[in-house]
């Protein structure tokens, strides 16, 4: 790979990582152990992410879609009353984004997923989606820390970082983009959505703000039509 390619690619990656990305504090062993224990309690059995019938994606093939679904679910796992990546439609968000706004990252994902697959088969004798959740978390931690061998471009850390960023986008972007299904991501964190107005009383509120209905772009557009705004 030429130097030009290398710098162009790292540029694309960093452009994709998005605004104001900060270096993370990294995993802390105690918390990590705790996290893994929680995963064991709450996570679905491996393999259950496979769609029961044939699913057509906008960009991903079947294997890629399965891997991304499993990977993003470990980043933001669902639990009873706590919607995660699968519940909110994160894989669908990423799939649609790669077919549109992020089309220039198609090869980044293709290669990143192929390297992830090779890493898992070499080190764990199975593709990522078939590993136990605890093992999946070890793989993700190795990517995050740059300790997963065999990655060239994207690097393991670049791949982790972009998937994490896109997972957060899928959790919290307006449902119009294919994730945050039924505002589940916003409800999880207590964000009231696209509210066009807060009153002086709202500004003085020290409690959770829970004005209904939750508003997204579709509702905004409907309101605008109704009120004659264009």
């Amino acid at each position: 790979m030429s130097k030009h390619d290398s710098s162009r690619r790292s540029f694309l990656v960093r452009a994709a990582v998005g605004a104001g990305a900060v270096a993370g504090s990294g995993l802390v062993p105690d918390a990590y152990t705790q996290t893994v224990a929680q995963h064991k309690d709450s996570a679905a059995a491996p393999g259950q992410s496979h769609p029961s019938s044939i699913q057509h994606d906008a960009f991903f093939n079947y294997e890629q879609a399965t891997t991304i679904a499993a990977f993003t679910e470990r980043l933001m796992p669902g639990a009873p009353g706590k919607p995660g990546a699968r519940d909110t439609g994160v894989p669908n968000y990423i799939d649609l984004a790669l077919a549109g706004a992020y089309a220039d990252l198609q090869d980044f994902y293709r290669r990143g997923l192929a390297q992830l697959d090779a890493y898992c088969r070499t080190n764990h004798k199975a593709p990522f989606s078939l590993l136990e959740p605890a093992r999946q978390d070890e793989v993700i931690a190795a990517l995050e820390q740059g300790k997963a061998a065999g990655f060239s471009w994207p690097t393991a850390q670049e791949f982790f970082s972009v998937v994490r960023t896109h997972t957060m986008e899928g959790m919290f972007a307006d449902p119009l983009y294919g994730g945050n299904r039924e505002f589940a991501g916003w409800r999880l964190v207590g964000f009231p959505g696209a509210q066009g107005n807060f009153t002086p009383a709202d500004l003085q509120n020290k409690q959770m703000f829970a004005r209904a209905p939750m508003t997204g772009l579709q509702a905004q557009a409907t309101q605008a039509k109704g009120s004659g705004r264009s």
């Binding site: 710098s7 790292s10 540029f11 960093r14 452009a15 998005g18 605004a19 104001g20 990305a21 900060v22 270096a23 993370g24 504090s25 990294g26 105690d30 918390a31 705790q34 996290t35 929680q38 995963h39 709450s42 470990r74 980043l75 933001m76 796992p77 639990a79 706590k82 995660g84 706004a101 220039d104 993700i140 995050e144 957060m168 986008e169 919290f172 972007a173 307006d174 991501g185 916003w186 999880l188 964190v189 207590g190 964000f191 509210q195 066009g196 107005n197 807060f198 002086p200 500004l203 003085q204 509120n205 020290k206 409690q207 959770m208 703000f209 772009l217 905004q220 605008a224 705004r229 264009s230």
Partner: protein, 573 residues
């Protein structure tokens, strides 16, 4: 290919260009403005969409089509910056900005003299090009006043004609009259910040912002929606150039705006004057404007880049660069952050204008004694969401969780679920000193969509004076955090040496043609019918956001052009 003629051509119609266009148009001068981006309207901003405007940066230059590269020093390869913090449409950065509208302190204009007087010259780092401005606060005060009143700024005076008001910012320089609009209401993060600051004996206040707290000049007031920094205002309550000066410029009948155009050269002749500009049209055409006066008003990168790209046999080092000063003394703000989070209450920081909501000025400029400290100059301290924008994507991307919590997995999910509506960030925005070896020049390897060399920044803020300042401020922020009563207080890593927000320098103004590029009016020392106006002319940067000072300078330059230069074109100094 077209050739047009005008009295004046302005390159870049943002914070500066809009003001110049309106003022010169009113004086009967025929003005053409070249703008790289589109001209949008308030109706275009009805989508309160965090993905589109914050995360995908729709109102900023596309970093792939318009790359700007950065390297920490001359020994390193430059790589494109991932995020470009300036505007890409008519109105420029004022369309998406956080609207902080400060007047610089009196000592900001004489940072070198003031430092020497109080502490002696030995405290100034030997390699710093710290200097005084070629004008004083008193010189600029009338133009600050005009900008506040013509654009619409909300705030509370702290110093009326030398009399402290026991409100507002007690450290501000004297102002002739109150702000045109009362201060914006604080949200709960402002209330928390103010409580912590008062407990420690500091002087908090609602930050002055170019957002209407009440209806003004026929425009509606702010609805406190919170979709503010990174967004165009869906109410038109943000006093952007788009809704203030551009309609005024239109009304003169003397202003023509050409959008989707990219100026690639300032043309000059052998007489030593500029004759106009060449630009690519939206359709790819190659066009020329002939003008008596050329005003560069782009963001700092393109001001320097255009002058370097316009070199001729007569000006072999680029225009306005006979002394080799062009592109030097690059500065940028660095933000130190401490997060606070509460178990016993909500903060709901997504309410209200999002950026730097409430401030304290006790540690800015030379408002505190630096004796015994290992640095000079200070920082503005304020409360904000994680990345000045208040949605959950911003929090997930920009807020590192506290020690002990990973960035993903069930523990992270639970952290975000519990604290997204219960956190705030305390932020220090530092005044970094100028250094001559921090530069903007042309990247020899990277080109933009037009095939022009990308601007290249060589910059690393991690110098002893700057690092000592950050360490001091992080401690102050942590004290504030503990005083806030928050159960959780933790800091953000300060990261690499990459430049932060609000870039300044490159076409430094000064009183001496040997050591500066332009005079106090932004007029080139070398070429009197060429003006360069904007933060690229700042000799030092202050801990305050630059926009109101940029706008005051634009009013001052417009005044000098209309009342003096127009009658007698030539050197104003």
């Amino acid at each position: 290919m077209t050739t047009e003629t005008a009295d004046v051509v302005i390159v870049g119609v943002g914070a500066v260009g809009g003001i110049i266009a309106a003022e010169l148009g009113k004086a009967g001068m025929k003005v053409i403005g070249l703008e790289r981006g589109p001209r949008l309207t308030t109706q275009d901003f009805s989508s309160l969409d965090e993905l589109r405007y914050f995360q995908r940066q729709e109102l900023r230059p596309n970093s792939k089509r318009q790359p700007v590269t950065w390297r920490p020093n001359a020994q390193t390869d430059a790589k494109p910056l991932p995020i470009l913090n300036y505007g890409n449409q008519a109105g420029g950065g004022t369309v998406h900005y956080g609207t902080l509208s400060w007047r610089f302190h009196e000592d900001d204009f004489r940072a070198r003299s003031h430092t020497v007087e109080r502490y002696g010259a030995s405290v100034i780092p030997a390699d710093s090009s710290l200097t005084d401005w070629p004008l004083t606060y008193a010189d600029l005060e009338p133009f600050y006043d005009r900008a506040e009143y013509e654009l619409g700024v909300s705030g509370k005076a702290g110093n009326l004609q030398g009399r402290k008001t026991d409100a507002g910012n007690p450290f501000e320089a004297p102002r002739r009259r109150e702000y045109p609009l009362p201060a914006l209401l604080p949200d709960q993060s402002g209330v928390i910040f103010a409580g912590a600051a008062q407990k420690l004996g500091y002087h908090p206040f609602s930050s002055p912002r170019a957002i209407l707290s009440q209806p003004y000049h026929g425009r509606a007031s702010c609805t406190y929606c919170g979709f503010c920094q990174s967004f165009g205002c869906h109410m038109g309550a943000k006093s952007s150039i788009l809704v203030t000066k551009l309609p005024e410029a239109d009304a003169t009948g003397n202003f023509k705006l050409l959008t989707g155009t990219m100026c690639y050269r300032v043309n000059s002749d052998n007489s030593g004057r500029v004759t106009g500009v060449s630009y690519y049209g939206a359709d790819g055409s190659d066009n020329t404007i002939e003008a008596d006066l050329v005003i560069l008003a782009t963001f700092i990168y393109d001001n320097t880049r255009l002058l370097l790209l316009s070199k001729t046999a007569k000006f072999p080092n680029g225009l306005a660069n006979s002394n080799g000063q062009l592109g030097k003394h690059l500065m940028a703000h660095i933000g130190a952050r401490v997060f606070v989070a509460f178990d016993d209450r909500y903060v709901n920081i997504y309410m209200g204008p999002s950026a730097q909501k409430h401030s304290l000025d006790d540690f800015n400029a030379d408002n505190f004694d630096h004796g015994g400290l290992k640095f000079i100059r200070g920082a503005q301290i304020s409360v904000s969401p994680a990345d000045l924008e208040a949605g959950p994507i911003g929090a997930a991307i920009s807020m590192n969780p506290p020690p002990g919590i990973p960035r993903w997995g069930a523990a992270y999910r639970d952290f975000l679920a519990k604290y997204f509506a219960r956190y705030a960030a305390f932020i220090a925005q530092t005044e970094n000193l100028p250094y001559a070896d921090q530069t903007v020049d042309l990247d020899p390897h990277v080109r933009d969509q037009y095939g022009l060399p990308a601007p290249r920044l060589t910059y690393d803020w991690r110098r002893p004076n700057e690092v000592a300042r950050i360490d001091f401020l992080v401690n102050k922020l942590q004290e504030l955090g503990r005083a806030s009563g928050a159960q959780h207080v933790w800091r953000s890593p300060t990261g690499s040496g990459m430049p932060g927000a609000h870039h300044e320098g490159g076409t430094r103004m000064g009183g001496d043609p040997k050591t500066s590029v332009v005079n106090r009016y932004g007029q080139s020392w070398d070429i009197p019918n060429l003006f360069i106006i904007g933060s690229s002319t700042f000799p030092t940067m202050s801990g305050f956001n630059p926009t109101l000072t940029i706008q005051a300078l634009a009013y001052m330059s417009a005044d000098a052009i209309v009342n003096r230069y127009k009658k007698n074109p030539g050197a104003l100094v």
